[in-house]
C-alpha cells in the first residue's frame, strides 16, 4: 500500500521511458527527463535561482525550478549516475540515434561526446563483470557498446536484433554483474561480459527489464505481459489489458506501467496487484529518490503530460485504516464465491444425470446435448502450397459423431497477430470437422490451446472442449522434396560424440513428421521460401552436415541440437556462398554510405556558413533601408533554406540506409556465432569484431567459415 505525498505539474511533455533522477551536485536529487524537440529538462526545486545560463544549459523562463538542456537531436535514452572516479556528482548520459553525450550538469561541461553508429535505444550505467570502471552501456541496432568515463570503447558485442531494454544484474550469482538484454526478436539474452550465457525466448518485443533482487529480474513485453524470472526459470507472469512502457522494482516489488495511465504494483512472489493509481494521461516513467530531502525514499511517477506524483509506503497506523476490514470481507467473499461455483458445478452434474436417461425432448436442441462419449480428434500435418493457399501447417479438429463444431478458438503466443485465432464457419457450412491453417512466422515451439465449441446445428449452448497441442520448433519443414529444386549451396559441418539414434530422437521431437523416421539423413523443403534443408550424419565419425542456404536456420538447428544433446562447446565449419556474397556487397555499401555521409556533412556545414552571412547581409540591408537588396537576400536565403532541407532529406535517407546495412552486418556476426556453441561461439564474435575494426573483409569471411582467425 502506498500513499501519495506530493504532486507537481511541470508543464513539459515527457517522452515515455526517458526519465531519471540524478544528484548532479552530489547532494540534491533532480528529476531529469527528455522532452520534445530534442531537449532534456532538469527539475531542481532545491536551489532556486542560483544558476546561470551558459553553454548547453538554459534556465526556463517559465519556471525557475527547471533548466533545459539542448541536445538538438531527438533523445532516445537517458540515464544518470556515477561514471568517472573523483567526480562529486552524478553524470548525465543522453543517447540519441547517432551520438552519446556524457555531461556534467554541475560544472556545465561535456565529459565526452561520442558518435555511435548503431544508435542508442537503451542505456544502462554500472559495473559489468570484471571491467573495473563503471561503464555506460548502450544498446543499439543489434549491437551493445560500453564506454568508460573517458569515452573509451571498453566493451562491444552483438546481439540478435534491435535492443529495446537493458539491465545489469548478478544473474549467475558470482558477485559480478551480468548484462541482460531485451530485444525486438522477443529474446532476453544474458551476457557475462561479451560471452552469451543464456537466452530466454519470449513471445513479444521485450520493452523493459528491471533487477529485483539477487538473480531475480522482472520483464515486460509490448503486448502487456509482465513477469519475473529467477535466472532462466520463469517465476510468474500475468498479462494485462494495456501494453506496458516501463517497469521498476524496489525492495522486492515492482511497478509496471501501462501507458493507459495506471500504475500497478506487483509483489515479486505472486504477481498480485498491490497498488493501483490512475493518471489522466500515459505514465512516462518511474524513479525513486529522496526528493523531499527528508531521509525517506519516495517513488516518483511521471506522466507524459508532465504530471509528477510522489509516493511513500503507508506507515503502520495508516495501514490499519487503509486496509480496514476489507481483508476479512474479501476472504469471506472469496470463499463464498468458491462455494457458489461448486454448487453450480454440482447442479450441472445433477441436471446432467437427469438428462442422461435417453429420450430426447424438444428443449434439448437448444441446450446442445451431445453424446457423452464425444471426443475430439486433432491432427497436425504439413501442407504444401497450392494455388489458392500458401504453404501452411494444418490443424484438423473433428468430432466422431453427428455433432458439429460451431467455432474453434486457438490461443497461442507469438504465432498469430493477436494472441488468438478464431475459425467460425457460417451456419451453412457447419460440420463436424474444422481445418485451421497455421503459419508460424518463426521457428519456435508453441503450445496451441484449442477451445472447440461442440453442439448441435441449432444449439444456443455448446460444450467447450479444451485441448492443448504442441507445435514442434521446426514445424514449417516438409519431408516432400521436389527433385527439381536446386540443391542448397550453403552448409555447416560439425562433429558430435553421440549416437545417431539421439539425433533421430531430436529430429522426431523437433520436426513435424507424419510417421517417425529412423535415420538421421533427411531432406526437408522449407514451406516459407521453398528452399531445401539437408541433414546428414556420418555414423562412423559423428560428423553432421547441414545443407541449407539459410544461415539463420542453420544457426537455430545447431543451437537446438546442441541443447538437446547437452553439448557445451561446439566448433563448426561453415560456408554460405550466396549469403557471404550478399554480405560482401553490404560491406562495400557501408563504405559508400560512410563516404557519402561525410561529404554531405561537409556540404551542410558549408551551407550553414552561407546562411549566416546571408542573414547578416539581409539585416544590414534592412537597417540601411535598402529594401531592394534586402528582398533579394531574403529570397536567396529562402532558396538556400529549401536546398538545406532537401539535403537534409538526402542525408537522412542515407543515414537510414546505413543503419540498415550496419544492422545486417551485426546480424551476420551474430548468425556466424550461432553456428557454434559455447567458447568457439564467443571467439567467432570477438574475432569478427576485430576484423571489422581493422576493416579486413577477407579475414571476416575466413573467420565466419572456419570459426577462428588463425590458420
Amino acid at each position: 500500500m502506498l500513499v501519495p505525498i506530493f504532486t507537481l505539474k511541470l508543464n513539459h511533455k515527457i517522452n515515455p521511458r526517458m526519465v531519471t533522477i540524478g544528484k548532479f551536485d552530489g547532494i540534491h536529487p533532480c528529476l531529469t527527463a527528455a522532452t520534445q524537440a530534442g531537449k532534456v529538462f532538469i527539475h531542481n526545486p532545491h536551489m532556486r535561482g542560483q544558476r546561470q545560463a551558459a553553454h548547453r544549459l538554459s534556465q526556463s523562463a517559465q519556471d525557475s525550478d527547471i533548466s533545459l538542456l539542448n541536445i538538438n537531436q531527438a533523445v532516445s535514452c537517458l540515464t544518470a549516475g556515477t561514471l568517472g572516479p573523483n567526480t562529486t556528482g552524478d553524470t548525465l548520459l543522453v543517447g540519441t540515434q547517432t551520438n552519446l553525450l556524457a555531461y556534467d550538469v554541475h560544472d556545465n561541461a561535456d565529459i565526452f561526446y561520442r558518435e555511435v553508429t548503431d544508435g542508442a535505444n537503451a542505456i544502462v550505467l554500472g559495473k559489468l563483470g570484471n571491467i573495473e570502471s563503471p561503464l555506460a552501456i548502450i544498446g543499439g541496432n543489434c549491437a551493445l557498446q560500453g564506454f568508460d568515463f573517458e569515452g573509451n570503447d571498453q566493451f562491444w558485442t552483438v546481439t540478435g536484433d534491435n535492443v529495446r531494454s537493458l539491465v545489469l544484474c548478478d544473474f549467475t550469482g558470482d558477485g559480478k554483474n551480468e548484462l541482460l538484454v531485451g530485444s525486438e526478436d522477443f529474446d532476453i539474452r544474458v551476457f557475462k561480459e561479451d560471452e552469451l550465457v543464456s537466452e530466454m525466448a519470449e513471445n513479444e518485443t521485450v520493452t523493459s527489464l528491471c533487477h529485483m533482487h539477487g538473480s531475480r529480474f522482472g520483464y515486460a513485453l509490448a503486448n502487456g505481459t509482465v513477469g519475473v524470472y529467477d535466472r532462466t526459470a520463469r517465476y510468474w507472469r500475468i498479462k494485462s489489458h494495456s501494453s506496458l512502457c516501463h517497469i521498476h522494482s524496489r525492495s522486492g516489488s515492482g511497478w509496471k506501467l501501462p501507458p493507459k495511465g495506471t500504475d500497478w504494483w506487483n509483489s515479486d512472489r505472486t504477481g498480485e496487484v498491490i497498488f493501483k493509481d490512475n493518471f489522466s494521461s500515459s505514465v512516462a516513467g518511474v524513479v525513486e529518490g529522496d526528493y523531499r530531502m527528508d531521509g525517506q525514499i519516495q517513488l516518483i511517477c511521471t506522466s507524459v503530460d508532465g504530471e509528477v506524483r510522489g509516493y511513500l509506503p503507508a506507515s503502520k497506523e495508516m495501514k490499519g485504516n487503509l486496509m480496514d476490514s476489507s481483508v476479512e470481507q474479501d476472504l469471506i467473499r472469496e470463499l463464498s464465491q468458491r462455494r457458489q461455483n461448486l454448487l453450480l458445478e454440482l447442479r450441472n452434474y445433477e441436471e446432467n444425470a437427469k438428462q442422461a436417461v435417453p429420450g430426447i425432448s424438444d428443449g434439448d436442441t437448444q441446450m446442445g446435448v451431445i453424446p457423452a462419449n464425444t471426443q475430439l480428434q486433432t491432427a497436425l500435418s504439413v501442407r504444401a502450397a497450392t494455388e489458392s493457399q500458401k504453404a501452411h501447417i494444418e490443424l484438423s479438429i473433428s468430432t466422431p459423431n453427428e455433432t458439429i463444431i460451431r467455432a474453434v478458438l486457438i490461443f497461442a503466443e507469438g504465432i498469430f497477430e493477436g494472441e488468438s485465432h478464431v475459425v467460425h464457419p457460417s451456419s451453412q457450412n457447419l460440420s463436424g470437422c474444422v481445418r485451421v491453417p497455421i503459419i508460424p512466422p518463426k521457428d519456435i515451439p508453441v503450445d496451441l490451446h484449442v477451445k472447440a465449441f461442440v453442439g448441435g446445428k441449432s444449439s444456443t449452448q455448446f460444450h467447450v472442449f479444451e485441448i492443448t497441442r504442441q507445435l514442434p520448433r521446426f514445424s514449417m519443414y516438409d519431408l516432400h522434396v521436389d527433385p527439381e529444386s536446386p540443391q542448397p549451396t550453403g552448409k555447416v559441418t560439425f562433429t558430435i560424440n553421440d549416437r545417431p539414434q539421439r539425433v533421430v530422437m531430436w529430429l522426431n521431437q523437433n520436426f513435424l513428421l507424419p510417421e517417425g523416421i529412423d535415420t538421421p539423413d533427411v531432406t526437408f523443403t522449407s514451406l516459407r521460401d521453398g528452399g531445401l534443408l539437408n541433414i546428414s550424419m556420418l555414423s562412423t565419425s559423428g560428423e553432421i552436415t547441414l545443407n541449407t542456404d539459410d544461415i539463420d536456420l542453420a544457426g537455430d538447428l545447431v543451437q537446438s541440437l546442441a541443447s538437446f544433446l547437452a553439448i557445451e562447446d561446439l566448433q563448426a565449419e561453415a560456408d554460405f556462398p550466396t549469403y557471404f556474397g550478399e554480405l560482401r556487397t553490404t560491406l562495400t555499401e557501408v563504405d559508400e554510405y560512410h563516404s557519402v555521409h561525410q561529404k554531405l556533412t561537409a556540404a551542410i556545414a558549408d551551407h550553414s556558413n552561407h546562411i549566416r552571412n546571408m542573414l547578416v547581409q539581409a539585416e544590414d540591408a534592412r537597417l540601411m533601408g535598402d529594401m531592394k537588396n534586402m528582398k533579394k537576400r531574403y529570397i536567396e536565403l529562402y532558396d538556400l533554406n529549401r536546398d538545406l532541407i532537401n539535403e537534409y532529406k538526402i542525408r537522412s535517407n542515407n543515414h537510414n540506409a546505413l543503419l540498415a546495412c550496419l544492422k545486417s552486418v551485426n546480424q551476420a556476426i551474430q548468425w556466424a556465432g550461432r553456428l557454434r556453441v559455447g567458447k568457439p561461439k564467443n571467439q567467432v564474435i570477438t574475432a569478427c569484431r576485430d576484423a571489422i575494426k581493422n576493416n579486413n573483409v577477407n579475414a571476416l569471411f575466413k573467420i565466419m567459415r572456419a570459426g577462428t582467425a588463425s590458420s
Binding site: 524537440a37 480496514d324 481483508v327 461455483n341 450441472n348 446432467n352 451431445i370 449452448q461 467447450v464
Partner: protein
C-alpha cells in the same frame, strides 16, 4: 457534506432479477430489520442478522424463477406480507414463511412487474396490464410497447388508485380504470418506477423514474397533467438505473435518493437548500445492482443502504465505522465472529468439494457409455445491447453469475469494436477473410481476468449494413460450456424512437403499395428499425417517429394493411429503406409497388444540418494538430505573449480541446462516409451512378467549404 459508508457482504443467494429484495418493517422495539430476497431458483430467503451472522428466518422450496418481490398488507397495518410473482402465478407469504395466497393470473406470458396495495394487485406481463381486487379481475389494459415496471399512487390522497406504467417506448402511461388517462414522455426508456419517499411525497403524487440509459427524474402526477420536478442526466455514461429508493441515509433529516445501476454503481443523491439533487456518495460493486433499499440490518442504530446484486449477493453499505485492529506486524487481526464464519465456510467448502469430485467422476464415467448423453443446463446471462445517443454507438453489456473465462465476438457485418476503459480483458482480433464462404467481418476474443463477471463493449455500426453480431460466452465453470447470444444490427441502426418530429423540413417520401398484411409490413419495419415493439400494434394503422442519433435527421413511418409511407429529410435513409423493403418483399414473393417522391431541397437541408458538426470537427482537428507545435514554441521562448490571440487561445484551451477530440474518435470519417452516401443516394434516385466522382467529392471535403460542397452536389 461527506458520508462514508463501509461495505459488508451478508450472504449470497441465486441470481436475482430486478426489485426482488425488500426489508421487512421493524417489529416492536427491535431496531434491526429482516430481509426478504427472492431469486431465479424460485427460493425466497428471509434472514436477519445476529452478531454478524445471517440467521435465516425461513427459506421456501425451489420453484419457478421469481421476477418481482413486493410487500403488502391491509392498509393501515405494517406492510409485512411478502408477495412474489413467478411465471403467471402470484404467491403470498407471511413474515414467518407461511404461504397464504397462491393466485394464478391465467396470463399466457409470465408476469414481469407487480405492485401490491392492500387488497389490490396489479400485474404486468410484457404488453398486458391487469388489476385484481381480492383476486377478482377489475381492469385490463393493452400497452403499445413493453411494460417494464408499474407503480401506483396511493389511494389515500386521491381517492382512487392511479397506476403508472413504465413503457419501453419512452413514455410513462397513467391509467384510470382500463383507460389511458394520459402519457408522459421521459428522456429514455424507463425501466424502474418508485414512489417518492415510498408514499408519493406530501400529496402522494410524486414518482421517481430511472431509465435504461442511466437517467433519473422526479415527476408529479396529478389528475389531468404531469410536471417534471427535476431530472439528472447521465454525462458520465454510467450504467442504466435498475432500482431506486428514498431514505435518509445522510442523517440530516432530508430524504435522500438511493440509486442502483446495472454497471454496479450505487449512488446517494442528497438535496441542497435549493432542493436540487446532488451526488453525495458513490460506490462501485462489480456487478449489476438489482435491488436497493435503505434501512437498518446489520447493527442497531446504524442505518445502511442494502443492495442485492445480479449474482445474488446481499450487500450492505453501512454507516457503522469499521474498526480494524492493526495487530502486531503486518497482519490485521480477524474478529472472532469472522474467524468462526471463515471456519464454517471452509468446512462447507470441503464437503462440497468431495461431492463435486464424486459428480465429476460420475460424469467422466458416462463418457464411456455409448448411449448416455451429456447435457449441461443453461446458465443465465444478463445482457443488454443499447444505442448510446451521445456518440451514436452501441454498447453491449454481458453479465454471468460466475466468472467469465472468455468471450468470442463474431459479426457478419462490418462493425468497429471500440476500446472501453473499464474493461480489463485482453482483446485479440483474429484475421477474417470476409470473401470466404464463412463471411465473417469481425472475429475477436476477450480473455478475461479472474473474477470478471461483467463485461462491457462498444460497437459502432454503419447504417445500411445489417446483419447479426454474435457473442459466445464461456464462463469458468466445469463442465465447460458456452452460450451464444445474437444481436441484430438493423439497417437503420442509428435511429431512435421519438414522439414528435419537425414537420417543416423538406421531406422525401417513399410509398409502398401491395398485397401485404398489417402484420407483414410491421414485421418489416421491426426488421429495419430499432425500438419498435415486436407485437403488431392494435388498430388499423400506426405512425412511428424516429430520429437519427448521429445526424439529427428524422423519419416518419406510417403504415397500414396494403399501404405504407416513409418520410425522411435524409435521402440516404429513404434509399436504405427502399433497398431493404424491396428485398424483404421479394423474399416473401409479394409484389410491391414502390414509388418515391424526392425533394431536391432535402439534400441541401441535410448538408446544412451536417455543416456545423463538420465545421466544428474540422476546426477541432486543426487546432489539436497545432497544440504540440505551439507548446514547443512556448517552451522555447518562455512565453506565449508573442503569438497571435488565436494561437494563444488554443494554448489556453489545449486540455479541453484534447478531451473533446478524444471523446469522438473517427467522428470526421463517419461524417465523410455519410456525406458520400448522401451523394451516391441522391443520384441513385435519378438513375445515375456517380461512384466515379466520389474521389472528387473527397477532395472537396478535404478543403471543406459549405458552398463549394453544395455546388458540387447540385452540379454533378
Amino acid at each position: 457534506m461527506e458520508i462514508n459508508l463501509n461495505r459488508i457482504d451478508y450472504l449470497q443467494v441465486g441470481v436475482t432479477s430486478q426489485k426482488t429484495m425488500r426489508l421487512l418493517p421493524a417489529v416492536g422495539r427491535k431496531a434491526t430489520q429482516k430481509v426478504a430476497v427472492a431469486d431465479y431458483d424460485g427460493v425466497i430467503t428471509c434472514f436477519g442478522m445476529k452478531k454478524g451472522e445471517a440467521v435465516p428466518v425461513f427459506k421456501t422450496l425451489p420453484g419457478q424463477k421469481i421476477a418481482r418481490l413486493d410487500l403488502g398488507g391491509a392498509i393501515g397495518t405494517p406492510q409485512e406480507k411478502i408477495f412474489v410473482c413467478a411465471g403467471s402465478e402470484v404467491k403470498g407469504f407471511t413474515k414467518k414463511g407461511k404461504q397464504f395466497l397462491s393466485f394464478e393470473a391465467n396470463l399466457t406470458e409470465s408476469i414481469n412487474a407487480m405492485h401490491v396495495s392492500g387488497a389490490d394487485l396489479f400485474v404486468c406481463a410484457s404488453y398486458i396490464y391487469n388489476h385484481y381486487c381480492d383476486c377478482k379481475d377489475q381492469d385490463y389494459y393493452l400497452s403499445g410497447d413493453k411494460i417494464n415496471d408499474i407503480v401506483c399512487l396511493p389511494a389515500e390522497n386521491l381517492g382512487r388508485i392511479v397506476p403508472v406504467l413504465a413503457c419501453q417506448d419512452r413514455v410513462l402511461r397513467v391509467l384510470k380504470g382500463s383507460e389511458l388517462l394520459y402519457d408522459i414522455e421521459v428522456p429514455g426508456p424507463p425501466c424502474v418506477l418508485e414512489l417518492y419517499n415510498r408514499d408519493g411525497g406530501t400529496n402522494g403524487e410524486d414518482i421517481l423514474y430511472g431509465t435504461i440509459d442511466g437517467k433519473l427524474g422526479l415527476i408529479r402526477i396529478t389528475d389531468s397533467s404531469s410536471s417534471s420536478k427535476w431530472e439528472i442526466g447521465n454525462e458520465k455514461k454510467k450504467g442504466g438505473v435498475l432500482c431506486m429508493d428514498t431514505f435518509d441515509i445522510m442523517g440530516d433529516g432530508v430524504k435522500d435518493i438511493l440509486v442502483g445501476r446495472d454497471d454496479g454503481t450505487v449512488e446517494v443523491y442528497g438535496f441542497d437548500c435549493s432542493n436540487e439533487p446532488t451526488l453525495r456518495f458513490e460506490h462501485v460493486l462489480s456487478e449489476s445492482i438489482t435491488s436497493i433499499q435503505g434501512g437498518c440490518v446489520g447493527k442497531e442504530s446504524y442505518d445502511e443502504v442494502l443492495t442485492a446484486t445480479y449474482t445474488g449477493w446481499v450487500t450492505g453499505l453501512t454507516t457503522e465505522p469499521q474498526q480494524a485492529e492493526a495487530g502486531p506486524g503486518e497482519e490485521v487481526k480477524m474478529s472472532r465472529e469472522t474467524q468462526s464464519k471463515v471456519a464454517s465456510l471452509r468446512a462447507e467448502l470441503d464437503q462440497l468439494q468431495m461431492k463435486v469430485l464424486q459428480g465429476r467422476e460420475k460424469y467422466q464415467q458416462t463418457s464411456q457409455s455409448s448411449t448416455a448423453v451429456s447435457a449441461v443446463p443453461m446458465f443465465s446471462v444478463n445482457d443488454k445491447f443499447t444505442l448510446c445517443q451521445d456518440d451514436a454507438s452501441y454498447s453491449l453489456a454481458l453479465e454471468v453469475q460466475t466468472a467469465i473465462d472468455n468471450l468470442l465476438l463474431q459479426s457478419d457485418v462490418p462493425i468497429d469494436l471500440l476500446d472501453v476503459d473499464k474493461n480489463s480483458a485482453v482483446v485479440s482480433f483474429s484475421e477474417c477473410d470476409s470473401e470466404q464462404p464463412n463471411g465473417n467481418f469481425l472475429l475477436a476474443t476477450y480473455r478475461c481476468q479472474a473474477n470478471t463477471t461483467r463485461l462491457e463493449l462498444k460497437v459502432r455500426s454503419i447504417e445500411g449494413q445489417y446483419g447479426t453480431l454474435q457473442a459466445y460466452i464461456t464462463p469458468r465453470l466445469q463442465p465447460k460450456t458456452c452460450q451464444v447470444r445474437q444481436y441484430l444490427i438493423k439497417p437503420l441502426s442509428l435511429h431512435q424512437r421519438t414522439h414528435a418530429i419537425d414537420q417543416d423540413r423538406p421531406m422525401n417520401t417513399l410509398s409502398l403499395v401491395g398485397q401485404f398484411s398489417f402484420a407483414e409490413i410491421h414485421s418489416w419495419v421491426v426488421f429495419c428499425l430499432p425500438e419498435v415493439p415486436e407485437k403488431t400494434p392494435a388498430g388499423e394503422n400506426i405512425t412511428f417517429y424516429f430520429q437519427n442519433t448521429f445526424l439529427g435527421t428524422q423519419l416518419e413511418a406510417t403504415y397500414c394493411k396494403g399501404e405504407s409511407h416513409f418520410k425522411s429529410d435524409n435521402i440516404s435513409t429513404i434509399s436504405i429503406l427502399k433497398d431493404v423493403l424491396s428485398k424483404e418483399a421479394t423474399k416473401r414473393k409479394i409484389n410491391l409497388n414502390i414509388s418515391y417522391d424526392i425533394n431536391d431541397d432535402s439534400v441541401g437541408h441535410t448538408l446544412k444540418m451536417i455543416h456545423p458538426k463538420l465545421e466544428y470537427q474540422l476546426l477541432l482537428a486543426k487546432k489539436v494538430q497545432l497544440i504540440d507545435a505551439l507548446k514547443e514554441l512556448q517552451v522555447h521562448e518562455g512565453t506565449a505573449d508573442f503569438l497571435i490571440p488565436e494561437y494563444r487561445n488554443i494554448l489556453d484551451e489545449a486540455a479541453y480541446l484534447l478531451e473533446e477530440y478524444k471523446k469522438q474518435p473517427a467522428h470526421l470519417e463517419r461524417l465523410y462516409g455519410m456525406i458520400t452516401d448522401l451523394f451516391i443516394d441522391k443520384f441513385k434516385f435519378k438513375g445515375q451512378n456517380v461512384k466515379t466522382k466520389v474521389s472528387l467529392l473527397l477532395e472537396i471535403l478535404d478543403n471543406y467549404d459549405l458552398d463549394s460542397l453544395m455546388n458540387f452536389f447540385n452540379e454533378a
